[in-house]
């Protein structure tokens, strides 16, 4: 790991340099939200101090400049995920906002009673509940891809779920609990071989794996800014142009319309048709800075480093006999969900917090997955580019202290 400039990178994230209960912070809760690089922090600061104005209503200097920055941010996102046109990039409030948008519009535009939507057992509630709600509204139903004990999707079962009523597949790229990196390219091909479009939930994918939406050929790809070192309140919906054209708008309001009369309203073109009201333009520009920060380091380098962390942590945690790991796929990101035998995850989390080790405990918004494994929750440590082997050691030692304390 010697060629990865980890020292410098840690300096880029000011929050990491602090003590918690007198111990250095080891922030291992990156699956929930990631920390922010100076480059993004300072961009937001500068926007607030020097450049704020309303976008897309440009008749003045400031609003011209910020509109340009906003549209450049769209292009940055486009390039980051390899989309072919910037109009395929819709700024939303987050992954949850993006999925609700697609689910709603797909429901209105396409779904009929009796139709079916395929999701998987390992989905986050944000990729379950919107589909449940839309199914209920349109009399459609969910079909669920089962998973193996290791936490892999059962692809044979997936194949068998298709019927002539299947209208959509929505599957996560990387599981936020198990860490499984799903074979998304194959999953997309299978959906397409049945002429069914597919949405990939990239909330845990885009920051940990290379993503090229043209290569993946997915119909929709969604993610959250705050999980990829960007601001809160901003998210991305990528969609194929045909789909975005075809789906009716989601929210109504300013900027998404062409003409409004009380009798009839016609809608604006892409991407604006799906961006109702004043968007989080400062968040969007901030997000672009975060992506530029990543590109500056080099995504391959980041991914390589994260895989090394993953291997180190896998090895290290396997040394704790009382630790039961959930998610042992051969293809996984540096996300570790586990339970210490006989010890409640919440107790574990609270105690290691006192050692400065921040993790998340609970169901991680994946209750059906918890039910699949017959558990109430797990402890989750989720690593990213600024974590270190030293922090993994500290997690390891803190877990051993928990075991001692609870004995």
């Amino acid at each position: 790991m010697n060629d990865f400039p980890i020292e410098q990178i840690r300096k880029d994230f000011p929050i990491l340099d602090q003590l918690v209960y007198g111990k250095p912070l080891a922030y291992l809760d990156n699956g929930a939200t990631t920390q922010k690089p100076l480059r993004m922090i300072e961009a937001v600061n500068r926007l607030h101090r020097e450049q704020n104005a309303s976008v897309h209503r440009s008749v003045s200097f400031l609003s011209d400049k910020i509109t340009q920055a906003y549209e450049e941010a769209r292009t940055t996102v486009q390039k980051f995920i390899g989309a072919s046109k910037s109009l395929q990039i819709i700024f939303t409030s987050g992954t949850t906002g993006s999925i609700n948008l697609v689910a709603f519009s797909f429901g209105e535009g396409i779904l009929e009673p009796g139709d079916e939507i395929i999701i998987s057992t390992m989905e986050h509630h944000s990729n379950i509940v919107p589909w449940q709600m839309v199914c209920e509204r349109h009399g459609a139903r969910l079909r669920i891809i089962p998973i193996t004990d290791e936490g892999d999707l059962d692809l044979d079962a997936y194949q068998n779920l298709f019927s002539d009523r299947t209208r959509m597949v929505a599957v996560t790229h990387v599981s936020n609990v198990l860490g499984t990196i799903n074979p998304v390219k194959e999953i997309v091909q299978i959906a397409h071989s049945h002429r069914v479009p597919i949405l990939l939930d990239g909330a845990q994918g885009v920051q940990h794996e290379p993503v090229n939406v043209v290569d993946l050929d997915c119909d929709f790809y969604v993610f959250s800014g705050h999980k990829i070192y960007g601001p809160t309140g901003i998210g991305i919906l990528y969609g194929k142009e045909e789909w975005l054209e075809r789906l009716p708008p989601y929210q109504g309001g300013g900027d998404m319309i062409d003409r409004v009369t009380f009798e009839k309203t016609t809608y604006n073109g892409l991407p604006f048709k799906f961006e109702a009201g004043t968007t989080n333009f400062i968040g969007a520009i901030g997000l672009a800075e975060s992506l530029n920060y990543l590109t500056g380091i080099g995504l391959d380098k980041i991914i390589r480093y994260e895989h090394e962390l993953r291997d180190y942590a896998t090895q290290k945690l396997s040394g704790i006999k009382q630790l039961r790991m959930y998610g042992t796929s051969a293809e996984k990101a540096a996300i570790f969900s586990f339970v210490l035998e006989g010890i409640h995850p919440f107790d574990t989390g609270m105690i290691i917090d006192k050692f400065g080790v921040a993790v998340r405990t609970g169901t991680h918004c994946t209750m059906p997955l918890m039910q699949r494994f017959g558990i109430e929750g797990t402890v989750r440590a989720s690593l990213c580019l600024y974590n270190t082997t030293d922090e993994i050691d500290r997690l390891h030692d803190a877990l051993n202290s928990v075991i001692d304390l609870m004995a």
Binding site: H344, F346, D347, K354, T363, E376, L405, M406
Partner: protein, 142 residues
């Protein structure tokens, strides 16, 4: 003992403890020793749901006084629940409703009883008070 005296007693006990490790140890021991709730009450009807840990609570009225029993799946939560029971149990609804819980801050457990910790303890204390209110109303109707 009056509720206020029990609180004083607890504050003194905690004052004798050192760092968080000793406090947690104490809570864990309390948690282990809390008489389990009757299995009959460890079901959804008696469940107080927090996102993170679950608490079951029951309350009985005997001779004008309320007797609580509780359980939790998380041991530290259970330890804190046991402190709360020690304070409230065996007292009248009025005594319970007039209790000031400021001592919790003194013993360094404030964060565990903030509504942002979704461990079910805040809801448990609310529920303890609702029982007190309910029994009080019942007594007045008699």
């Amino acid at each position: 003992m009056e509720i206020i005296d029990i609180q004083k007693e607890i504050v003194e006990e905690f004052a004798g403890l050192g760092e968080w490790m000793e406090r947690y140890n104490y809570l864990i021991d309390l948690g282990k020793s809390l008489p389990l709730i009757d299995q009959a009450y460890r079901n959804d009807e008696y469940l107080i749901r927090g996102c993170q840990s679950r608490v079951w609570l029951n309350a009985d009225l005997r001779e004008g006084k309320i007797y609580y029993t509780a359980d939790s799946d998380a041991i530290i939560t259970k330890g804190i629940a046991s402190l709360m029971i020690r304070i409230f149990t065996g007292h009248t609804p009025d005594e319970i409703l007039n209790t000031d819980l400021g001592f919790i801050e003194e013993i360094g457990l404030k964060e565990h009883l903030s509504p942002t910790r979704s461990n079910g303890l805040v809801s448990m204390i609310n529920q303890m008070r609702y029982y007190a209110m309910a029994y009080k109303a019942k007594q007045q109707n008699l």
